[in-house]
């Protein structure tokens, strides 16, 4: 996927997240794209590491900056108390209308991520995305308790109860993602 195609996917995702009530700042997009790539297997070629607020991709940061300098996304500071929203532009809308097959190929995955994550704030997204990271790291053979323990090693500020809830929710999202992919 080239930069423009990635940019159009990201703009489409941002539009769908906003439609679901997301503020769609940097953290929202970082975590939503993490789910899109790692769980829904939309290959954007982005490397993620565990960083300050959970899984984070410096590659995605670069692509988002490129999208802004290419007028596909723009920062919107209107609401005080939040960081900037990354909002798709009219230019991105026009460009997206010219790439119907690209977007059609990923519509189900984009809708899934937007519907499941769009209403979440950054704190919930950090927990859920870190649950995905830990689950991938430890594999299927470990207990819930082991996963909770690992998550809290990485993120001690997340309480045990919140970590448990994050894994319970993540497991449900992961099951639904498997069902979605089985329709292929």
């Amino acid at each position: 996927m080239n930069d423009l195609e990635k940019g159009l996917i990201l703009a489409e995702l941002a539009d769908r997240l906003i439609a679901q009530g997301s503020w769609c700042g940097h953290t929202h997009l970082q975590k939503a794209v993490y789910f899109l790539q790692e769980l829904l297997e939309v290959d954007l070629g982005l490397k993620y590491i565990l960083y300050k607020h959970g899984p984070y991709s410096f590659d995605l940061e670069e692509v988002l900056l490129w999208c802004q300098s290419s007028f596909l996304l723009e920062k919107d500071y209107k609401a005080s108390g939040y960081g900037p929203r990354l909002k798709p532009t009219g230019i991105s809308k026009d460009h997206r209308s010219r790439f119907p097959r690209l977007l059609a190929r990923h519509t189900r995955e984009l809708s899934f991520v937007a519907e499941r994550l769009g209403s979440k704030g950054v704190v919930g997204l950090e927990r859920l995305a870190t649950a995905l990271f830990v689950s991938r790291e430890l594999g299927d053979e470990v207990t819930l308790g082991q996963r909770v323990s690992r998550l809290r090693d990485y993120k001690p500020h997340i309480s045990e109860t919140d970590a448990h809830e994050a894994f319970t929710e993540f497991d449900e999202v992961a099951r639904d993602a498997v069902k979605l992919r089985s329709f292929d």
Partner: protein
């Protein structure tokens, strides 16, 4: 190659590395001073309250700062991507050198010995050492050196390059900025971990640094003539180096400096039978390719890939070997760092600063052409621009 445009810019990377080491030590002393630390930061980062650990990490930080660029190729970034094997960059070379037996001997000779992995981590940071896990403390220390917003690498090169080029844009009040840097707790308990930020009183110094960075990129680092010399140099190196690639062995890397390359380049410029002669002579005789087209917002609004469209069309018309393209888009978010306001609240910098909200992104896309063709090709673009630049279409 900058000295071809700004003749006094002949300073060396070693001077910069010494400057980065000195500034890193100063920042460390400010941000770990007990009066600057909140109870929450002390609780979250245990290393910060133990004097023997602080002493160890201060040394690691200064050594990492001294070595952070040790893997740079001759002429730095000029030719890195194309002239190293796939998967290699100067940060990877830096890591290899820091962890080499040659350097390990030095780390082991210090009392107490420094762990090479600690030096390696702080020298390149989590962005370039994605295979290593960083603690909060290590992340903050690496930000002191290579942080996007006010890492001391950036502070030093802006001030130093500004001084040597005679371009004043890169100056800012680094004394004030360093004095106001702090390790700040997260905005709320549920909001992650402490990170490197600035007191409100230093926000204007941080703005000045980031504006300075923007202007230095526009006026010096991305000066179009400076950039085409880099491309001619890259063409020369591709012809001159064995297999068209730099060696990645530590010993061979350390033996190949700017001096060896300059000597070979001027020899090649004088002797048409030598490899790379055509590119060398363009540098030696200042006969560089001319700027034909540069990124224009009106064109980007029609097609985000307008540079590529023009480059392809011009290559077809005038021959690929007569054209060169240089594009770059900003890599890191520089305006997202925490600020502690006078009433103690922690907010993101771009929420407090109108300057940072509106800081332009650095983005270039230059197309160059053989000097003899520039007038003809410029006329052609003027006439054909509207036909060439149309909205992108999905390939069938």
């Amino acid at each position: 190659m900058t000295s071809l445009i700004y003749p006094a810019a002949t300073h060396k990377r070693f001077e910069h590395s010494l400057g980065v080491m000195e500034l890193a030590g100063r920042v460390f002393d400010v941000v770990t001073h007990s009066a600057s630390l909140s109870d929450e930061v002390k609780r979250t980062i245990p290393e910060i309250t133990q004097l023997h650990l602080l002493s160890y990490w201060r040394r690691v930080l200064r050594m990492a700062a001294l070595c952070h660029d040790v893997g740079h190729l001759p002429f730095s970034h000029a030719a890195e991507k194309e002239l190293l094997p796939t998967g290699w960059d100067h940060e990877k070379l830096t890591r290899e050198i820091i962890c080499s037996p040659l350097m390990s001997e030095i780390w082991n000779s210090i009392t107490p010995p420094l762990r090479s992995e600690d030096v390696e981590k702080l020298a390149v940071g989590p962005r370039k050492a994605t295979d290593l896990r960083f603690s909060t403390w290590e992340t903050i220390l690496s930000e002191i050196i290579v942080g996007d917003s006010f890492g001391v690498d950036r502070m030093d090169y802006l001030l130093r390059d500004s001084y040597h080029t005679g371009v004043p844009y890169g100056r800012f009040d680094h004394f004030r900025l360093i004095d106001t840097l702090r390790i700040l707790p997260p905005a709320s308990e549920s909001d992650g971990v402490p990170s490197l930020g600035v007191e409100e009183g230093g926000l204007q110094s941080a703005e000045a640094l980031l504006l300075g960075r923007y202007y230095m990129y526009s006026q010096v680092y991305f000066h179009p003539i400076r950039r085409i010399y880099d491309i001619h140099l890259k063409d020369f190196l591709a012809a001159w180096l064995d297999g068209g690639k730099f060696p990645i062995g530590v010993e061979q890397h350390l033996q190949l400096t700017d001096n060896e390359v300059y000597a070979a380049l001027y020899q090649a410029a004088r002797d048409s039978s030598r490899l790379g002669h055509n590119s060398a002579i363009r540098i030696a005789q200042h006969d560089h390719y001319k700027l034909l087209y540069q990124r224009h917002p009106d064109d980007v609004a029609v097609n985000s890939n307008s540079g590529e469209v023009i480059f392809k069309a011009a290559s077809e018309k005038y021959g690929e070997s007569n054209l060169r393209r240089d594009k770059y888009s900003q890599k890191g978010e520089v305006t997202r760092f925490p600020v502690q306001s006078k009433d103690g609240r922690i907010v993101q910098a771009d929420q407090m600063s109108t300057v940072l909200k509106n800081l332009p992104l650095v983005s270039i896309d230059f197309i160059y052409i053989m000097p003899d063709l520039v007038n003809q090709a410029s006329e052609w673009i003027k006439k054909e621009r509207k036909t060439l630049i149309h909205p992108p279409q999905e390939s069938s």
